[in-house]
C-alpha cells in the first residue's frame, strides 16, 4: 500500500503551507513542488481506486475515533473514481500552468500554486469525507481558494467577479449550516452513514426543510439555476487554467455533494423530480444564454453550467442507467471542458477584449491548438466518434427507459443550440475569409501546455473509440451510489478499516 486516503487531503494541505518556506530556499520549488504533490496524489488515488475495485471499500477513521463519533473518510468505487479524476485534472492544470505562470512574478505564482493545491485538496475532501460538517468545511475551503483564484489578475473585473462569487458562496454557506443544524438537532449526529440509517426517524417537515437548505447550500458550487450567477463572471475573469479547474474539479465536487445528499443522506429512491426540474431549467437557460455570448470563456462557462444541468437530470432519473449516464457525462465533461478552457485561453491570450470575433482566423496561426479546440467542441456537442457521444447516448437511453420522451426531446433540442454556438466558433477559427483584420499576435504555447492538451485529446479519442474501457468503472461507481444500505454497513461496521 502506497498510502491511505487521508494523504489525499493531508499532503496537499501540508504542501500548501510549506510552499512559501520552500520558496525562500529556491524560488523554482514553488512551481515544482505542487506538480510533484499532484502527481503523487494522482498516483495514490489511482492505486487506491484499483485496490478498492478489486477488494472492498476503504473506510478510514481519523484520530482513532470510530464512526459515528469521529470523522471518517470513505474511499469507495464512486468516491475513488471521482477523486482520481480530480487529482488527475489537478495535475493537468498544474502542467499547463507550470510555465504559464513563469511570466508572472514570484509572489503571484506562489499564491496561485498555494490556492491551486488547496482547491484540489478541498475538492477531494468534499468527495471522500463521510461527515457532513467536515464536508461543509471542505466546501468552505474550496470556496475561499476559488474566490482567491478568481481574483488572481487583481483587476477591477476579476475583483468584481470574485466578490459576486464570495457573496453567493457565503449566502449558500449559511444555508448549508442551517441544514446541518436542523439535521443535527433532529438526529444528533453528523455522520452521513448514521444520518442515512436514521433518516426515517426524522420529522418529515424538518426533513424537507433540511433538504431545501442543503440544495441551496450545495447548489452554488454545483452551479444550478438560479444560484449560478457567479459562474459566468468567475470563469471569464479567472485565468484559463483556473476556469479549467473549476469545470473539471470544483463543479464535480459540488455535484457529488448534491447527489450524495439526495441519494444517501435522505435515502430517496426512484425518480427525483426536484433534480430533474432544476437540472432541466439549468440546462435550458444556460445553453440558450451561451448562444448569445460574445466572449469565448463566457460561452464556455455557460456551456459548462448547461452540462451540469444535464448531469443532474440524469442523476434525477434515479435508476442505475441514469446514474451511470450521469457519471459518464461527468467524466467526459471533466476532461473535455478543461481542454476547451485551456486551449481557448491560448487562443484568446493576446486579444484585447477576449471577444470571440477577435480570434477569427486563429486556425491559421495556431493550427494545433485550434484543432484541439475543435476536437473538444465536437466532443462536447456529442458528435460521434468522440467520447461525448457515448455519454449523451447513455443519457438518452436512460431517459427512454423511464419513458421520459419530453426530456429526450428537450435535451436534443438543446443539443442543437449547443451545436450552433460551438460551430460558430469553429467557423471563426478556420473557415472565415481572411479579409477581416487579424491584428492579434498568437501567444506561443509552451511545451508543457501542449503536453497537457495532447494528453486530454488522447483520452477523448481513446474513450470515443473504446467506450467499453471506462464503462466497467462507471458501472461499479453507479452501483456504489445506488446502494445506500451497503454504504451504511461499510461505514458503521468498518468494512476494511485502517485505524491511525
Amino acid at each position: 500500500m502506497v498510502g491511505s486516503p487521508v494523504f489525499l487531503i493531508a499532503i496537499p494541505l501540508l504542501a500548501a503551507f510549506l510552499i512559501p518556506l520552500l520558496g525562500m530556499v529556491w524560488k523554482e520549488l514553488v512551481r515544482i513542488v505542487p506538480g510533484l504533490v499532484l502527481a503523487y496524489l494522482t498516483f495514490l488515488s489511482a492505486t487506491l481506486y484499483i485496490d478498492v475495485i478489486n477488494s472492498d471499500t476503504i473506510v478510514e477513521t481519523i484520530a482513532g475515533w470510530r464512526a459515528p463519533w469521529g470523522i471518517d473518510l470513505v474511499f469507495s468505487p464512486l468516491t475513488g473514481f471521482l477523486s482520481t479524476i480530480m487529482t488527475f485534472m489537478g495535475f493537468i492544470v498544474w502542467l499547463y500552468s507550470y510555465r504559464f505562470k513563469r511570466n508572472v512574478e514570484f509572489e503571484a505564482a506562489k499564491k496561485y500554486f498555494i490556492f491551486l493545491m488547496l482547491l484540489v485538496a478541498a475538492s477531494v475532501g468534499i468527495v471522500i469525507t463521510g461527515d457532513i460538517f467536515n464536508q461543509f468545511v471542505f466546501i468552505e475551503i474550496t470556496g475561499i481558494s476559488a474566490y482567491a483564484l478568481t481574483a488572481f489578475y487583481t483587476g477591477r473585473n476579476s475583483a468584481e467577479a470574485a466578490f459576486k462569487y464570495l457573496v453567493m458562496g457565503s449566502l449558500s454557506a449559511s444555508a448549508l449550516l442551517i441544514a446541518i443544524i436542523i439535521v443535527y438537532a433532529q438526529l444528533g449526529t453528523l455522520n452521513m452513514a448514521e444520518i442515512a440509517a436514521n433518516i426515517d426517524n426524522m420529522n418529515v417537515e424538518y426533513r424537507i426543510i433540511a433538504m431545501i437548505f442543503f440544495i441551496i447550500g450545495i447548489g452554488v458550487e454545483a452551479e444550478i439555476f438560479p444560484l449560478n450567477g457567479w459562474a459566468p463572471d468567475a470563469y471569464t475573469e479567472a485565468p484559463g487554467p483556473v476556469g479549467g479547474a473549476f469545470a473539471g474539479i470544483v463543479v464535480k465536487a459540488g455535484i457529488y455533494a448534491m447527489v450524495r445528499m439526495m441519494f444517501t443522506l435522505f435515502n430517496i429512491s426512484g425518480p427525483m423530480q426536484i433534480l430533474i426540474i432544476i437540472g432541466m431549467i439549468t440546462l435550458i437557460i444556460a445553453e440558450t444564454s451561451a448562444l448569445r455570448q460574445d466572449k469565448l470563456k463566457r460561452m464556455l462557462a455557460y456551456s459548462s453550467i448547461g452540462q451540469m444541468g444535464l448531469v443532474l437530470v440524469a442523476f434525477g432519473m434515479g435508476t442505475q442507467a441514469g446514474v451511470f449516464a450521469a457519471l459518464f457525462l461527468m467524466l467526459n465533461h471533466a476532461i473535455i471542458k478543461p481542454m476547451l478552457f485551456l486551449s481557448g485561453s491560448y487562443l484568446e491570450f493576446n486579444t484585447k477584449n477576449k471577444y470571440i470575433k477577435e480570434i477569427t482566423g486563429m486556425g491559421k496561426k495556431m493550427p494545433v491548438v485550434s484543432a484541439i479546440f475543435v476536437l473538444g467542441a465536437l466532443a462536447i456537442s456529442g458528435l460521434p466518434p468522440f467520447s461525448g457521444f457515448w455519454s449523451k447516448l447513455s443519457v438518452l437511453t436512460a431517459a427512454a427507459d423511464e419513458n421520459m420522451i419530453l426530456i429526450i426531446t428537450l435535451v436534443l433540442i438543446i443539443s442543437l443550440v449547443e451545436i450552433v454556438y460551438y460551430f460558430r466558433v469553429i467557423n471563426r477559427l478556420f473557415f472565415f475569409d481572411y479579409d477581416l483584420e487579424i491584428s492579434v499576435e498568437p501567444h506561443k504555447p509552451g511545451w508543457n501546455g501542449m503536453v497537457a492538451l495532447f494528453v486530454l485529446a488522447g483520452i477523448i479519442l481513446f474513450i470515443g473509440f473504446y467506450p467499453s474501457s471506462v464503462t466497467g468503472f462507471l458501472d461499479l461507481a453507479a452501483r456504489d451510489l445506488m446502494d445506500t444500505h451497503d454504504y451504511i454497513n461499510n461505514v458503521l461496521q468498518l468494512g476494511q478499516s485502517i485505524i491511525q
Binding site: 426543510i209 431545501i212 438560479p226 460521434p384 438518452l396 427512454a400 443539443s415 442543437l416 467557423n427 478556420f430
Partner: protein, 615 residues
C-alpha cells in the same frame, strides 16, 4: 468478411495518412489519396458479395457490420462516383490552400458513407452518419464563403435530422432491447401504435433532411453551391442518396407494417412531388450555375422520393434507377461547372458565353448530362422518367403526374439556360483566352457522361443489382419479367425496346452528318457571331446580339404567386425569433451581485412554497 473492415480501415487510415503525408509533399499526398480511393473500390468489386455479416460489441450493445443486396446498389454509386470524382478533384483543387485537409476530409466522407451502407445496426449507422455530417460540413465551409449563414444552416438541419433519428433509435432500443436493424424490422409489429407512428416519422425526418425533401431542403442550395465543385459532385451525387437509402428502407420495411401507414407514403410522395416542382422553378430563376444545379439536385431528389414513396415495384425500380442516374449526370454537371469556374474564374451564366469552341470536350460532357437530366432518349434519364410516369399512372396518382410533368417540362428551361449561357451564344473578347480544362478533369467527366449513355442503352447493367436489392426489400424478383413491368423494356430488361428506332435515327443522323461534312468541307468557312449583316447593317464589335440575362420573364410572371412564399424566409424568421428569445434569457444573468442574491432568496421561497409537490 474481413474485407469490409479492411475497406473501412483503409478509408479512415488513408484519411489520416493523406493529411500527414501531405505535409511532406503534395505529390505523395495525391498518390496516397487516389490509392485510398482505388484500392477499396477494387477490393469491394472483386471480393464482396452481398449478405456478409460481422458481429461486434461496444458498450454492452451488440453491433454488426455487413452488406445487403440493397446497400450494394448504393455502394456502387458511392464508390464509382468517388473514384472518378477523386481523379477530377486532384487536378481541380491543384494550387488551392489547405489541400491536406480537403483530401483527408474527402476520404472521411467516403469512408463514412461506406460505413453507413455496411452497418446493420442503428448505433454503427448513426456513428457513421454523424461522421459523414461533420466531415461534409467542413467541406461546405471550406471555401470560406457565407460561412456563418450557409454552414450553420447546414449543420443545424443535419443535426436536427440526426437527432430525430437518434431519438427514434433510443426509443427502439428501449422497446426491443436491441439496436439491430433486422431485429427492429422483425419486431416492429409488437410496438404500440402511437410509437409506430412516432418512430417512423422520426426516422423519415432524419432521412428527409439529407435527401433535401421539402420542407427540410433549405440547407441544400447554399451547401451544394458553397462546397468546392469537386466535392459537390460527391455531395449531391452520392451523399444525398444516403437519405434516399434510409428512406427507402423505412418506407418499405417499416411503414408498410403500420395500419393506415399508407398515408405516410402518400404524404411523402406528395412532398417529393412538390419538392420537384418548386426546386425546378427556383433552378430556372438562378443565374449562378452552381445554385441552379443545387436547386436542380433538389428537384431531381424529389422525383426519386416520389418513386420510392409510391413503392409499387415499377415505381421503386424507377426511383432507384433515377438515383443511380442522378448520381452520374449531376456529378458530371457539377464537375463541368467546376471546370468552367477554374478556367474562367466565374460560374455566372450571364457572364460567361460562347465556350463551345474553347472547351469542346467539356461541352460534350455537359450536353450528354443535360440530355440525361432532361430525360431525352437515348440517355438513362429518359428510361427512369418513363418508368416513373408509367408507375404513377399504374397506381392512379393522376394529380401527382401533373405536378411531376410540369416540373420536368420546366426543367427544360434551365437545361437550355445552362447550355446556352455557358457554351452557346456570342463569343466575347473577355473569354477569348479561355482554354480547355486539363485532361485529368475532362476525362472523368467524359467517363461519367459515357456511363449515362451506356446505362441509357443497356439499362440491364444496373437493373440487375437493383432487382436483387429489391428482392431483399421483399419485392418479387423482376428478372426476366421487365416487359410486364414497363413497356419500355425488352424481356430481359437489358435493352430498351425503342432501341432499334434510336439506332436508325442515330445512323441516319450520322450518315447525313458525315455526308454533309464531306460535301461541304471545301466550301466551309468558319464564321463568328458578328460575321453577318442584318437589315443591310453590319453589327459593330461591341454590339450584343444574344442575351443571356433575364430569361423567361413571362414564365416567372406566371408562377410568381408560387414562388413568393419561400420556405427559408420562415425558417430565418423563426431563427431570428429564437435568438431574440435567447437574448432575453441571457439577460437573466444581469451581472449584478445583488440580483443574484435576490435570485437565491426567491429560489428558497419557491422551494419552500412548492415543497409538497416537489419532494
Amino acid at each position: 468478411m474481413e474485407t469490409i473492415i479492411t475497406i473501412l480501415l483503409i478509408f479512415f487510415g488513408g484519411a489520416v495518412a493523406t493529411y500527414f503525408l501531405g505535409k511532406i509533399s503534395g505529390m505523395l499526398r495525391n498518390i496516397i489519396f487516389l490509392a485510398t480511393l482505388v484500392i477499396p473500390a477494387w477490393m469491394f468489386f472483386s471480393t464482396i458479395s452481398p449478405d456478409m455479416v460481422l458481429e461486434l460489441e461496444i458498450l454492452g450493445i451488440d453491433l454488426s457490420i455487413g452488406i445487403t443486396p440493397f446497400s450494394y446498389i448504393f455502394a456502387i454509386i458511392v464508390l464509382g462516383l468517388s473514384v472518378i470524382a477523386g481523379f477530377y478533384a486532384v487536378k481541380a483543387m491543384q494550387g488551392k490552400e489547405n489541400l491536406n485537409f480537403f483530401f483527408a476530409n474527402y476520404l472521411l466522407t467516403i469512408g463514412a458513407m461506406m460505413g453507413i451502407l455496411f452497418s446493420l445496426d442503428f448505433i454503427t449507422f448513426f456513428i457513421f452518419w454523424e461522421i459523414m455530417t461533420w466531415s461534409s460540413y467542413f467541406m461546405v465551409v471550406f471555401t470560406g464563403k457565407e460561412v456563418q449563414k450557409t454552414g450553420i444552416r447546414y449543420i443545424l438541419f443535419s443535426a436536427l435530422g440526426a437527432y430525430a433519428m437518434l431519438m427514434a433509435i433510443v426509443l427502439i432500443y428501449t422497446t426491443i432491447g436491441s439496436v439491430n436493424i433486422g431485429d427492429f424490422i422483425d419486431n416492429f409489429h409488437l410496438f404500440p401504435t402511437n410509437l409506430k407512428w412516432l418512430v417512423s416519422i422520426l426516422l423519415l425526418t432524419g432521412f428527409a433532411v439529407k435527401s433535401a425533401m421539402m420542407p427540410l431542403h433549405v440547407w441544400a442550395p447554399g451547401a451544394y453551391s458553397n462546397a468546392p465543385m469537386s466535392y459537390t459532385a460527391i455531395f449531391s451525387g452520392a451523399l444525398s442518396k444516403m437519405g434516399v437509402y434510409g428512406m427507402t428502407i423505412v418506407l418499405i420495411m417499416i411503414v408498410q407494417q403500420i395500419p393506415n401507414g399508407y398515408w405516410i407514403k402518400e404524404v411523402i410522395a406528395w412532398l417529393g412531388g412538390i419538392t420537384a416542382a418548386i426546386g425546378t422553378l427556383w433552378a430556372v430563376k438562378q443565374d449562378d450555375a452552381k445554385k441552379m444545379l443545387a436547386y436542380s439536385s433538389i428537384s431531381q431528389l424529389g422525383y426519386i422520393i416520389v418513386g420510392v414513396a409510391i413503392g409499387t415495384p415499377l415505381a421503386m425500380l424507377a426511383g432507384l434507377f433515377l438515383a443511380v442516374m442522378h448520381g452520374i449526370f449531376k456529378s458530371t454537371l457539377f464537375m463541368v461547372v467546376g471546370a468552367i469556374e477554374r478556367q474562367t474564374g466565374t460560374s455566372n451564366l450571364t457572364e460567361v458565353t460562347g465556350l463551345i469552341r474553347k472547351m469542346p470536350w467539356t461541352f460534350l460532357a455537359a450536353l450528354m448530362s443535360i440530355i440525361a437530366l432532361a430525360g431525352i432518349p437515348p440517355l438513362g434519364g429518359f428510361i427512369s422518367k418513363w418508368m416513373l410516369y408509367e408507375s404513377l399512372m399504374g397506381s392512379n396518382h393522376y394529380l401527382l403526374i401533373i405536378v411531376i410533368f410540369f416540373s420536368s417540362t420546366a426543367a427544360f428551361l434551365y437545361c437550355y439556360k445552362f447550355l446556352f449561357g455557358f457554351f452557346l451564344g456570342q463569343e466575347e473578347k473577355e473569354w477569348s483566352h479561355v482554354k480547355e480544362a486539363p485532361a485529368m478533369m475532362v476525362v472523368p467527366m467524359l467517363i461519367l457522361a459515357g456511363f449515362s449513355l451506356l446505362l441509357g442503352v443497356f439499362p440491364g447493367l444496373i437493373l440487375k443489382p437493383i432487382n436483387e436489392g429489391m428482392q431483399f426489400l421483399g419485392y418479387v424478383s423482376t428478372d426476366n419479367r421487365f416487359w410486364e413491368m414497363s413497356m419500355i423494356f425488352n424481356d430481359w430488361g437489358n435493352q430498351v425496346v425503342m432501341q432499334p428506332i434510336f439506332y436508325t435515327i442515330i445512323a441516319i443522323f450520322l450518315f447525313f452528318l458525315i455526308f454533309l461534312t464531306i460535301k461541304g468541307y471545301k466550301t466551309t468557312r468558319y464564321v463568328t457571331t458578328k460575321d453577318i449583316s442584318s437589315s443591310g447593317e453590319i453589327p459593330r464589335e461591341e454590339e450584343n446580339l444574344t442575351f443571356s440575362i433575364g430569361f423567361m420573364q413571362p414564365f416567372f410572371r406566371a408562377v410568381a404567386p408560387v414562388m413568393k412564399r419561400q420556405m427559408s424566409k420562415y425558417y430565418t424568421g423563426f431563427g431570428k425569433g429564437m435568438e431574440a428569445l435567447f437574448d432575453f434569457t441571457r439577460r437573466i444573468y444581469t451581472g449584478n451581485g445583488q440580483t443574484y442574491a435576490l435570485y437565491l432568496v426567491i429560489f428558497v421561497i419557491i422551494l419552500l412554497l412548492f415543497r409538497d409537490s416537489l419532494f
